[in-house]
Symmetry: C2
Subunit: 386 residues, 2 copies
């Protein structure tokens, strides 16, 4: 592919309760990205968000955000794909530039989850699944992921403590990220002793509830150097879906959407898993972090946790993963998460990741999942320092 | 522009209460479009919808609809822009094909408004405006449009009976459309004597509440003849925004978003208002139908109603308008409306509009409005019979 560059990034801290409106969150991240790029006008606004209709009774946030940015007039789009809203909005924006109809574009993800009870947010998250056939059964979104975890542990004879290494690693990484939601070192024992949420998943297996927004400015590659000395190339942008619901699948311990999206992305970028220097995966639950390592081609099925045991996913390892803390510890404001991943990879590839920086990162890959693996957005980014 | 063709269309009837689910509605229209195109597989699904999160507690409907169509695996997108969700989804799909990343695409709009009280639907529609600054003031969406109508009538000295000609024309046209929501001839007196909704707007000035879905299959122009003898070219696809809220504007009787979107569309298609043979405008309220005729370049400000007085907008006039009944009489299932317009124009331009057919239509233009003119999508379609 090629042809599209990231020329500016911005993000708010992820916090449990920001005291900001949906608009305030988005504008903060978007203005930071616009300032970072040094652009004065943009040609289009893409907004990724999942729950504003349900939680804030606010739709039409494409126009709302364009207007709030003082960019009224430009085309704007709200793109929704559950927890993959950010990644899918990024993909739509990349298409916009490749179509020749957009030039300088801002794409941001935002979610405000504070100000609501946990049952309300739980009901909101379940909108990712089929309302009529699954949600009304009473199962929660965590419950569905617990079924995946149980099946995974049984099928591959993997113990809970192996899965628990994922959140432990994320919490370790987040200590270096001032904008992370959690700054707290945890151990495998802490995970295993934390309160049960949905058997076998415990509290520290699960990402939290938070407010946040992240944004990037995109430009055609040939114009990128006008805005920054360190543009990052979007080497591939892929979206794939699967059957929406878990009950429709023959196998629950593989996300075929991840395999399809990443297969297309490697092909477009002409790269393989061996080329990836830094990785951001969608660890909404510990088991999903481990499964991602497998479905994206870094480990055989059932062996993902071994990469963590071997230290390969650490900052000094072969495959530094979730270097800013991932969904578990940076936080997971759902519609924003896919853009946080892009922002963090961009900082890594332009050598601006500060305390989170990994050495010599040239290629980064992100995986953003909506629903139960029902939508997967994969991006491969490449440094322009070669 | 050019490069994209419509090769299949489908739509459900618009009815007050369909007894169908959101998925059932979408699948019915999409399967009709897929059958019409004679395609067996598609490469992407774009869904326009406004209120599924609020009314059905269902998000992630891109994946839901792809899965329900048996097309799981393909990339899918939910695009939301209030009542312009359909038109903006169409624009995003056009960009998808022009980007080179999509080939055969289905884009559908769907809205299920039944099963809820009128106050609930009224609250849902108000999500198009700023929740914190406007919606909480207590004004309704009809109320905001009533302010526009009052300002228009005062500024241009236009009487209510002149505006009322618009719904009268739409109801006349809908008599020929078996899928229209209303089959009832009305007079200007009927409009003026109908119950007051928000002064000066009366019941027959306002589009109703209904369920519906419409869909089109798009393909690159060079492949279109594989699927149909009568492909219709997307000669231009434009989206523009304005300040989200009425209070932010200097003038309330012009929609600058319409002017901007249509100006870009005429330029891209290298056409002018004189070239338009058939027109579909967003007459959610009678005053908006009249304003559209002006903002799109067919009449000077304040004189739109004269086109109706002169009979120019009738089926045998110079500018046949809302030939299937428009929002007022075909119906306005909000997220679907923009796609109904595209389907109806396509039928006109491929000489398949049956009793609604106008003679020798080569160029069609649609205008789909989200919020108070805050987002406007304009499409110019061109017949391949030349």
């Amino acid at each position: 592919m090629g042809g599209v560059a990231i020329v500016g990034v911005g993000m708010t801290p992820v916090v449990a309760s920001s005291g900001k409106s949906l608009t305030g969150l988005f504008v903060q991240a978007a203005k930071e990205a616009i300032d970072d790029a040094g652009v004065d006008r943009i040609d289009a606004v893409y907004v990724g968000n999942m729950m504003s209709g349900f939680l804030q009774n606010q739709e039409h946030i494409g126009s709302l955000m364009a207007s709030a940015l003082g960019q009224e007039g430009v085309p704007s789009y709200k793109v929704e794909a559950a927890c993959a809203s950010g990644g899918v909005a990024m993909n739509a924006a990349v298409k916009g530039i490749l179509s020749g109809l957009d030039r300088i574009v801002i794409v941001g993800g935002v979610e405000k989850m504070s100000g609501h009870t946990t049952p309300e947010v739980t009901a909101g998250l379940m909108m990712a699944e089929d309302r009529l056939k699954v949600a009304t059964s009473g199962v929660t979104f965590v419950g569905l992921n617990a079924m995946i975890a149980r099946a995974y542990m049984q099928e591959y004879k993997v113990a809970h403590d192996a899965l628990a290494r994922f959140p432990v690693m994320c919490h370790e990484n987040a200590l270096n990220n001032p904008r992370a939601q959690f700054h707290k070192r945890i151990t495998v024992d802490d995970v295993l002793r934390s309160p049960l949420v949905a058997d076998p998943l415990r509290l520290f297996d699960c990402s939290g509830i938070g407010d946040g927004a992240a944004a990037v400015v995109l430009a055609p590659m040939e114009e990128a150097k006008k805005f920054t000395d360190t543009p990052v190339e979007v080497a591939a942008s892929s979206v794939a879906t699967d059957n929406l619901s878990l009950y429709q699948r023959e196998k629950t311990t593989v996300f075929e959407g991840s395999r399809k999206a990443v297969g297309e992305a490697y092909k477009r970028a002409d790269l393989s898993p061996n080329d990836v220097d830094v990785l951001e995966v969608h660890d909404a639950f510990s088991v999903l972090g481990i499964m991602a390592l497998e479905d994206l081609g870094f480990a055989d099925k059932g062996t993902g946790a071994r990469l963590l045991e071997d230290g390969q996913c650490g900052r000094d390892g072969k495959l530094p993963t979730n270097t800013f803390g991932g969904l578990k510890a940076r936080g997971h404001p759902v519609g924003a998460t896919g853009i946080y991943q892009i922002v963090e990879l961009t900082l890594q590839l332009s050598n601006r990741a500060e305390k989170c920086q990994v050495a010599d990162a040239k290629v980064g890959l992100s995986q953003n999942v909506g629903g139960i693996g029902s939508t997967v957005a994969v991006h491969i980014l490449r440094s322009s320092k070669r």
